[in-house]
Symmetry: C2
């Protein structure tokens, strides 16, 4: 039974803007943004080119929407981690939570984050995305520095290097993690934070005092 | 004074095969392998196309040489780590040394490793390179498993996930490390192994017993 209050589906069957965007991101990732035309996208969706332009004004507009989706989530995560009052949670706890949240964002938005990580700055949309990535990177480096300063993060590796390696590891997930694969986002987040903060060495309690300051 | 025993430089000035290969790898990384023609390469080197073919039979041959350079070094590092007699060094020590050595190989051969990490299997040369990468990945996972079994590596993260995250972090260097930049290869190798094996948490000796087994 059709709900009479639901918006009627008239004429144009099947696709909405979200479908067009999803297919565009998949094509951009598979064959490269520059090598993908609006004609390719129309063919892939079984639409005419003019039907595509009914949904979205340009290819660059699709790229912008995809990059905004990834950057919006990552920016929210960074703001949540850096905006908390300092006397409630330590910088260490906020950094560790941010790494975990970044893994979850990456798993939930893997196609858009993959696209974001390949942006090289060839257009105003790409340059704006790179600018927002730099803002995020600077906040991460600040948080690492704050954790070193409060004494909870080791101080023998340069903070900028720490933030690059940490998020290099997180970002590397796009290379091998398969959506709906064998690893769940929460398990993955726990694995990444365990490796990065606790380390892989399986020290027994007796060994720890010995190896902590060589 | 010219050494009369040295091979004479006749006619063709300047370039040898190594120069051609270096320029080819730089172009492949900058604009994509598929989008680069032998004509582009000739122009970049200030040579005619026929002069390029004097040095190398095909574009795919250049790709093969570059990938072999990266894979050869990485394979040697893996063989050195997995070939050592087990009673001389622990799997933990061999894994830690292999991670450090991988960082050094990546820094020394950054353009070739960058190219290798972008290979998607579009030709027989690329498929052969992917096959060799899979062999390396399987040896890394074996070594992680051996370190878990000997009790020196934590057993609460799945070994395959550990090897993916470890080498995901190493490979991420190609995204931001600048050759002859501000970080030296040995420092970088130490930072990566410290983060991965010892962890970022700056535990004081008194805290360690408490946090080691929550």
């Amino acid at each position: 039974m059709a709900d009479p209050a639901a918006p009627a589906r008239r004429g144009r069957p099947g696709h909405d803007q979200a479908d067009v965007l999803r297919e565009a991101v998949a094509l951009f990732n598979a064959q490269g943004y520059d090598a993908t035309s609006m004609g390719d996208l129309a063919r892939e969706l079984g639409l005419t080119k003019s039907a595509i332009y009914h949904h979205v004004p340009s290819k660059e507009h699709l790229l912008g929407m995809a990059l905004d989706a990834a950057l919006g989530e990552l920016t929210d995560a960074v703001e949540a981690a850096t905006g908390l009052a300092h006397d409630e949670t330590s910088a260490y706890e906020r950094l560790r939570a941010l790494v975990a949240r970044s893994v979850e964002v990456l798993v939930a938005h893997q196609p858009e984050v993959t696209l974001l990580l390949r942006v090289r700055g060839n257009s105003p949309v790409e340059l704006a995305a790179l600018e927002r990535r730099r803002w995020i990177d600077a906040r991460l480096a600040d948080l690492v520095r704050a954790a070193v300063e409060e004494g909870s993060l080791r101080d023998d590796v340069e903070p900028l290097l720490v933030s690059r390696l940490l998020f290099g590891m997180v970002n590397s997930l796009v290379e091998w993690h398969r959506p709906r694969g064998d690893v769940d986002a929460a398990d993955l987040a726990r694995a990444v934070t365990t490796l990065a903060f606790d380390g892989l060495h399986a020290a027994r309690p007796d060994d720890l005092r010995r190896r902590s300051r060589p």
